[in-house]
């Protein structure tokens, strides 16, 4: 048993809003009549479509082939017919990207053989299309084949975003599977230690995971963490647990660590032990704009509208719908957009007034909460003066977009927003 305070510098302790859904069991939503599946649901190159218009596909059948050195394949989440392959708006990037619409045949018949016989574990994880389900959607197989030896696997059960309880419920309901998934990944990595990090107020998850760990998982270390956002962020979690800092421009394996989310571990378990590619995930549907907040297991590609209807529909008139958590999630323009692999939650708010922005009074709160050690107000003023290159070099390039600065600002200045816009601008510029 290992007790640790979260020791990364900065951060905030926002109100949790988790009580609504933390005690509710995961409900499985029946397969929808139609899914919209994007070929780019992960960090890296989009998958290459291998289906044509009119093709019949089964649940779990591969419809997109791995599209590059950092990429994963994409699978159909229902059985039916490919109705359309076109560019559709993506709920995360906000841009149009290649997607296909599959209409259900109502049978939900599974694809008979997901994986070739004799495949090694890493190939199964790769073929299953598993990505980091915490929100970053980085291909898991890439993380599991580091160029340097990794001694420590951190199983990340720190769900630091308010409202979200999908990770918590997964740990409560499937602790054995989660731990087995972690063990599979540790084996692939040849990691010696698995650290299970859970926030201290997540009592039930801690209890269930420890209970499960007693049955044959002796090499686990449990770390009960003080609640603080953004603890679930890889770099902050590593700093808190191991007092190691990932050098700028490097990745966790450079300090001998691999961090994996608990739902990712569950997906790995299901792929390796249950022959099931990643075509569904648990999301939290919450906020004051939905009738019955719930944790739902949904098929990837389900239109968000359908998910909300499944949760009793809207409560009042929705003003804002967010994919992800309230601190880093994306507000979407239309509920017709689908759930993707990176969707950890759907939050519906019936009020979304934007506060008026006042002048910066230099109170220093943004400096105090920045987990990276930036001076957000200074960078903001550089951007305002159009000194974009300088702003980038003086810190925006290191910004992890956690939003602590904007959360804490008493003048309600859109700090992180301006950094994100600069990131977006540079990304677009570099791409074109």
């Amino acid at each position: 048993m290992l007790f640790r305070r979260s020791t990364f510098s900065g951060g905030i302790i926002p109100k949790e809003y988790k009580e609504k859904t933390r005690s509710l069991p995961i409900v499985t939503m029946p397969p929808p009549s139609r899914v919209i599946i994007h070929f780019s649901q992960h960090t890296g190159a989009p998958a290459t479509p291998i289906v044509k218009l009119g093709d019949r596909v089964k649940r779990g059948e591969k419809i997109g082939e791995i599209g590059g050195s950092i990429s994963v394949p994409i699978h159909s989440s229902i059985s039916g017919v490919v109705k359309e392959i076109c560019d559709l708006p993506h709920p995360i990037s906000g841009e149009r990207s290649r997607a296909c619409i599959i209409e259900s045949d109502g049978e939900d018949s599974p694809c008979p053989d997901f994986f070739l016989p004799g495949m090694d574990t890493l190939s199964i994880i790769k073929e299953a299309g598993i990505v980091g389900l915490g929100g970053a959607a980085f291909p898991t197989w890439v993380k599991l084949s580091p160029p340097k030896p990794v001694a420590t696997l951190i199983l990340n059960g720190c769900e630091c975003e308010p409202y979200l309880t999908g990770d918590a419920r997964t740990m409560i309901e499937n602790p054995r599977a989660v731990l087995e998934g972690a063990e599979i990944m540790a084996e692939v990595l040849k990691a010696k230690v698995i650290i299970v990090a859970i926030e201290e107020d997540n009592h039930e998850a801690i209890l269930k995971m420890k209970e499960a760990a007693r049955e044959g998982f002796s090499s686990l270390i449990f770390a009960v963490m003080k609640r603080r956002y953004p603890l679930g962020s890889e770099k902050q979690l590593i700093a808190s647990l191991l007092k190691r800092e990932v050098p700028a421009g490097k990745l966790p394996y450079d300090v001998g660590v691999c961090v994996q989310n608990v739902q990712t571990a569950f997906a790995v378990y299901e792929a390796v032990r249950r022959n099931k590619p990643l075509y569904e995930r648990v999301i939290t549907v919450s906020g004051d704009g939905v009738s019955s907040p719930q944790n739902v297991r949904v098929r990837i590609g389900t239109p968000i509208d359908d998910v909300i209807s499944f949760c009793g529909g809207y409560n009042g008139v929705p003003k804002k719908i967010i994919c992800g958590g309230p601190l880093m999630g994306k507000a979407i323009p239309s509920p017709a957009l689908p759930v993707v692999k990176a969707t950890s939650g759907i939050l519906i708010f019936s009020s979304a007034e934007r506060e008026e922005v006042a002048e910066c009074i230099r109170c220093g709160r943004c400096v105090a909460v920045c987990p990276i050690g930036l001076v957000p107000t200074f960078l903001y003023h550089l951007i305002k003066k159009n000194a974009l290159k300088r702003a980038h070099e003086e810190g925006v390039k290191d910004c992890i977009e956690c939003g602590c600065c904007a959360y804490a600002c008493p003048a309600k200045i859109r700090l992180v927003e301006s950094f994100k816009m600069l990131h977006d601008m540079r990304n677009r510029y570099e791409r074109d």
Binding site: I12, P14, K15, P162, K235, E245, P247, A248, G249, K250, D305, Y314, V317, P318, K319, K320, I321, P326, L327, M328, G329, K330, A331, I332, P333, S334, P335, L347, A352, R354, E355, A358, E359, C360, I361, R362, C363, G364, R365, V367, A368, P371, I372, G373, L374, V375, F378, D398, E401, G403, A406, Y407, A408, C409, P410, K412, R414, V416, E417, K420
Partner: protein, 333 residues
């Protein structure tokens, strides 16, 4: 969903802390109230008139300046109110009534709005105005002190001609034995007690350390101000005066230095002004130490009896430089 309803799309974060600029400013106003009540108690109702004039004129000048510069009128944010309050606190109780009005005009129009308004002034408006008044009307600013209702100007019954810090300056002309006698009295329990409770002459808001500390504790606990500047400021003053007390005889004690003059008011309410002090944690420590050093330099060796306001003004000017030196280390470098 109704087709006519439009969803709001904005960048994260979608939730915000409830703190606002107004809440911060009004907290400071509330924290200054105990000392204001004390000032009325010690120096009479005249204090109310001075404070009323400085506050009202500050707010009016803010309104006029914002109107004439075409800025958004923000007189309800409490910022001008604080400037008026602090300026009033820095005036002698017997000063003429035009002084707070002239001071407010200088603080709000010249120091604050000529340099860009809230968030852009580079020195503390109330302190700059005080410096302006000291230079422009020195006699009103140095001779307007009156004894508190139940005590004497110096806080010692036998000596009544000056405030404690002025007394020390004047004693330099005294014979060594007379000097030792005065210092002894200033270090006595009675004198320190009078300083702590405020039963002593001085600017109207600075005399009672106790009442100022009550407000300061409220600001620290509610996280309106950071502990770094006051702690390093008072710590530096304490250390220097302790060394001075131990190795140079006869000298006033560290407690005398902590509770006399405007140190408590300055350290908790003016050296913590957001706009004119560093935003970096390390910078704040340097700022406080610098204030403490300069305060003690002026008190021990300078021509003025008190150095708090000039030390803070000087460090205000150093703030951009300090910030550049003390940028936090960025994760991963």
């Amino acid at each position: 969903m109704n087709e006519t309803e439009v969803l709001i799309v904005s960048y994260a974060p979608h939730i915000r802390d409830r703190i606002t600029v107004e809440k911060l400013m009004w907290s400071v106003v509330i924290a200054l109230l105990p000392a204001l009540v004390g000032a009325v108690y010690f120096f009479g109702l005249r204090v109310l008139m001075i404070i009323f004039l400085s506050v009202a004129s500050s707010v009016i000048f803010e309104f006029l300046a914002q109107k004439s510069f075409g800025r958004k009128v923000t007189i309800y944010d409490g910022s001008a109110l604080i400037t008026g309050l602090l300026l009033g606190f820095n005036l002698p109780p017997a000063c003429p009534y035009f002084l707070p009005v002239a001071g407010s005009a200088f603080a709000v129009v010249i120091v604050k709005h000529f340099f860009g308004g809230l968030g852009y002034n580079f020195v503390n408006p109330a302190l700059a105005a005080r410096a302006f008044l000291v230079v422009s009307w020195p006699s009103f600013m140095t001779k307007g002190f009156i004894p508190p209702r139940f005590g004497s100007l110096s806080g010692i019954d036998a000596l009544t001609q000056a405030t404690p810090l002025t007394l020390i300056k004047d004693t330099k002309t005294l014979s060594p034995t007379a000097l030792a006698e005065v210092i002894d009295k200033l270090n006595s329990c009675d004198a320190i007690r009078n300083l702590f409770f405020g039963n002593v002459g001085g600017c109207l808001g600075e005399t009672s350390a106790l009442l100022l500390l009550i407000g300061a504790i409220f600001l620290l606990l509610s996280k309106v101000i950071d502990y770094r500047i006051p702690l390093s400021y008072l710590g530096t003053v304490f250390l220097i005066s302790l060394i001075n007390f131990l190795f140079v005889k006869p000298q006033p004690s560290p407690l005398f230095h902590l509770f006399s003059g405007g140190l408590i008011l300055g350290a908790f309410f003016m050296a913590t002004d957001y706009v004119t002090t560093p935003i970096t944690p390390k910078g704040r420590v340097i700022f406080g130490v610098g204030c403490g050093l300069i305060t003690m330099l002026i008190r021990l060796f300078g021509g003025y009896p008190e150095g708090v306001s000039y030390s803070i003004l000087f460090m205000n000017i150093m703030t951009p430089l300090i910030e550049r030196w003390t940028k936090p280390r960025v994760y991963g470098y």
